[in-house]
Amino acid sequence: MTDDGSYPAEPAGPFPDPPTTVEDAEGRSITVRRYDPEADREALAAMYEAFDPADRAQGIPPTGETRIADWLDSITGPETVNVVACHDDAVVGHATLVPDEDATAELAIFVLQAYQGAGIGTSLLETLLGAGQAAGIERVWLTVERWNEPAISLYEKVGFEASDTESFEHEMTLRLH
C-alpha cells in the first residue's frame, strides 16, 4: 500500500514514546513497552496459544505452535516495530508494524480476550505509533473487517482514515511523518 494519495495529508499524533503504564478499566496495571525478542518471545507465543480463534482476522493469528512460531518470526524480524502490553509477567496484548516498502508499514493489533474492552488497545496503538514514528516509518495502513465497528472506531480515534471501503475488508491509512 504505497500509493501516497491514499494517505491523509497531515501527520497524526502526537504519540507517546514507550514505555507507558496505564491502569486499565478493570484496575489492572498494564505496561506497554517495546518488544524484546530475547526476553518476551516465550510470553508472546503463550499469548497466541491462548488466543481465541474466533477473533482471528484474515488468517491471523494462526493456530498451533509451529504456525505461530513461523508467523512470529516473520513479524518480529528486521525493520519491524513491535510493542507488547504486559500484566505482571504475562503478555496480554501485542501490536506490530511490518514494513512493505518505501517507509510504509502494515499494522495489526491483538488483545487477549480477558483484557479486551478495558482501554488497553488504545494504549497499545498509540504507543506502537510513537515507536513507529521514532523508527522513521512515514505511512501506516491496515485492513479490518467492515462489520467490526469497535475496531474501526478505535482506529479512527488514533487518526486512521478509511481509504478503501469497496473490498471485503475495510482499508484504513494514517500518516506519521
Binding site: A108, T143, S167
Partner: protein, 122 residues
C-alpha cells in the same frame, strides 16, 4: 469431474494450477484452463499460456486451454455455468506483509456469484 481453472498470471493463480495439475494427474478429472485478464497482473496472456503449457507438459497432463476476454470473474462464472462444469478452481489470494490473507477481486466476484462449487487453493 469437469474442472475449470481460472488463471490470470498472479503468483497464487500459478500455484493453484500446479496443485490442480497434480490432482488431475491422480484423479483423471477433465481439466480446462481459462486464461483471464487479471487487472492486478502484468502478465501477458500469451506468456501465461506458455507457462501453463509447460506445467501441463511437465506433469504429462492434457487440458484444453482457452482465453477469456473481458471482465474475468463474470466471464469465468458464465463459462462454468453455461458449459456444465462441476467445479471452478482459483488461487487462494495473496498474503500481506503481516500474513493476512487477501482475496483477489476475481475470487471475490466468483465466490459471491457462482452457482458452481468453487475451490480456492491455499
Amino acid at each position: 469431474m469437469q474442472v475449470l481453472l481460472g488463471i490470470g498470471g498472479s503468483d497464487d493463480s500459478m500455484r493453484a494450477l500446479e496443485r490442480a495439475v497434480d490432482r488431475v494427474a491422480e484423479t483423471g478429472d477433465d481439466l480446462t484452463v481459462a486464461i483471464l485478464r487479471n487487472p492486478a497482473s502484468e502478465a501477458e496472456p500469451a506468456e501465461i499460456e506458455r507457462r501453463v503449457r509447460s506445467i501441463l507438459d511437465e506433469a504429462d497432463v492434457s487440458a484444453s486451454v482457452r482465453h477469456l476476454e473481458g471482465d474475468p470473474g463474470s466471464q469465468l462464472v458464465d463459462l462454468a455455468e453455461r458449459e456444465g462444469f462441476d467445479r471452478i478452481v482459483l488461487g487462494g489470494g495473496e498474503t500481506s506483509p503481516m500474513g493476512k490473507i487477501k482475496l483477489g477481486s476475481i475470487s471475490e466476484f466468483v465466490l459471491l456469484n457462482s452457482h458452481v462449487s468453487v475451490t480456492l487453493v491455499r
